[in-house]
């Protein structure tokens, strides 16, 4: 049985190219696992950057309560803390930033701030963390979201936290890609139908070709179990 968290981690990992500088932040176990997976498989020279500032942590022990803890620094070779990762992005040196949010439109807009009015919100969300500066400055902002429904993927955002260089959005159902300024369906995860995606997406689904996301290979699944033996990549689904 293919689990969404495994499909998402693998799909995110495959987007990392060898040699790229890649950052993830807090509440980010799935991207953390994806970066470690990419480095263990097709992208050994990718540069793993994170909030505690450990460059390329080697086989870090993952912690359930945080994706920004000390184990990412203690197993690293060099220090490069959050403030410097941001600086790197500002001067054009960050290739990939993994970010999330609560609402997304089909033009690459992200809302991680509020539902309702900014000053008197119906729901105050945690906030965009680095999104407002990283989405416009990183070469590619890759979004993951473990909820895929009509409130999440909607025509109009309640608030625009950031728009910019969103390149991909990965959900439990599919992989969207930005193409000519529009979010289009790139591939459908195994065992999902296009009708299911259309039903759960608040804007019209458009695609160039109907393709299926290649399922995780045995090698990728074995690497996932090795990197993340306590299954923190599944935390958002528990």
């Amino acid at each position: 049985m293919l689990r969404p968290c495994d499909m998402m981690a693998v799909c995110m990992a495959r987007l990392i190219r060898d040699g790229e500088t890649v950052f993830h932040g807090v509440s980010s176990h799935l991207p953390l696992v994806a970066v470690l997976l990419a480095k263990q498989t097709h992208a050994p020279q990718a540069v793993h950057l994170n909030i505690p500032g450990g460059v390329d942590p080697q086989r870090p022990t993952l912690e359930a309560f945080t994706s920004a803890g000390g184990t990412l620094l203690e197993t690293a070779q060099a220090q490069f803390p959050l403030s410097e990762v941001f600086d790197l992005s500002m001067r054009g040196g960050l290739d990939v930033a993994f970010l999330s949010g609560v609402q997304f439109d089909n033009r690459g807009g992200v809302n991680a701030s509020v539902i309702g009015d900014y000053r008197k919100p119906k729901v105050r969300l945690p906030g965009g963390a680095g999104s407002a500066v990283l989405i416009p400055t990183a070469k590619r902002a890759i979004i993951w979201r473990t909820k895929h429904d009509r409130r999440t993927f909607c025509e109009t955002l309640d608030f625009l936290t950031a728009r910019g260089n969103v390149s991909d959005i990965i959900t439990p159902l599919c992989h969207f890609k930005m193409y000519a300024g529009e979010l289009i369906l790139h591939s459908i995860h195994p065992n999902v139908t296009i009708a299911e995606i259309a039903e759960n997406t608040g804007f019209p689904i458009r695609y160039l070709a109907q393709t299926t996301t290649p399922p995780p290979t045995e090698e990728e699944l074995a690497a996932l179990r090795d990197i993340d033996p306590l299954d923190y990549r599944n935390l958002e689904f528990r």
Partner: protein, 267 residues
């Protein structure tokens, strides 16, 4: 000068309405003992500053101590989920959420540490945050004429930082991730330290590892072992699951007072 004092005396130095920078990141090395003492003392109108806050911000909002929060992200991260007290305080209009990108908090603190009124930042190109918040503005590069966004300086009245080691004068070392705490110390008018361990006066002079925070920036030093609990302190302890759940289960302000009183007595 010996700045050692107990936690209650150190927190009593912070007046209602103060702008308070908090060290650490989410559940990592936040100054929780100090935060609980602030709540216990019934502070009012605190203006909190942090890149990514968690239980510290949530608890102070629950206790009614807060008027505003300047931060990029407020959550316990995934396992312990959202800061419900922060959320409901903002939704009820009791607390003003000043949302930043984490980097604009850093840039605002840098401006304060450099002694300048604002800092230009890239990013924020298409974002409703710029129009929604008066601390963002457009600024013209006087050399090229290009237009950039700027963020106003943030100079906390005091920052509270939990450290691994400090001497009585206030020289301090943070082991493992320092997050934005060194910058916070430089940007703030003064610093209050809570420390896992107090070392003797000659310690840093004799050590090859010099202090990260020098004594002259610090106004109070508190010996507070487990001062980051129930959050984690790198190399000392992880999160205390039972205590986190006991806090998250508290129903109302009265239950919080009892919980704080129990903590205070045991401290």
């Amino acid at each position: 000068m010996n700045k050692l004092m107990d936690l209650a005396a150190a927190m009593a130095q912070i007046p209602d309405g103060a702008m308070v920078g908090l060290g650490g990141n989410t559940l990592n090395r936040a100054p929780m003992a100090a935060v609980m003492a602030l709540a216990y003392q019934g502070k009012q109108g605190l203006r909190l500053v942090k890149t990514a806050g968690g239980m510290d911000v949530d608890l102070l909002c629950f206790a009614g101590c807060v008027s505003s929060v300047d931060a990029g992200f407020i959550s316990y991260e995934t396992q312990y989920s959202l800061c419900q007290h922060y959320r409901s305080a903002v939704q009820a209009g009791k607390v003003q959420a000043n949302e930043h990108a984490c980097y604009t908090v850093i840039s605002a603190l840098r401006a304060a540490s450099y002694g300048i009124p604002f800092m230009p930042v890239r990013g924020l190109v298409e974002s409703d945050l710029v129009a929604a918040n008066e601390y963002f503005a457009k600024v013209k590069d006087p050399f090229s004429g290009d237009i950039l966004n700027a963020v106003r300086a943030i100079q906390p009245d005091v920052s509270i930082v939990h450290v691994h080691m400090a001497d009585a004068r206030g020289n301090a070392v943070i082991e493992g991730p320092q997050y934005d705490d060194i910058l916070l110390s430089r940007a703030s008018k003064t610093v209050i330290l809570t420390a896992e361990r107090i070392v003797g006066d000659g310690y840093f002079a004799a050590s090859s590892r010099k202090a990260d925070i020098p004594h002259f920036m610090v106004s109070a030093v508190v010996h507070a072992p487990r001062g980051a609990a129930p959050g984690a302190c790198y190399g000392v302890h992880g999160v205390s699951d039972d205590e986190l759940h006991s806090f998250l289960a508290l129903a109302d302000a009265e239950a919080l007072t009892q919980w704080l009183t129990r903590r205070h007595v045991y401290a």
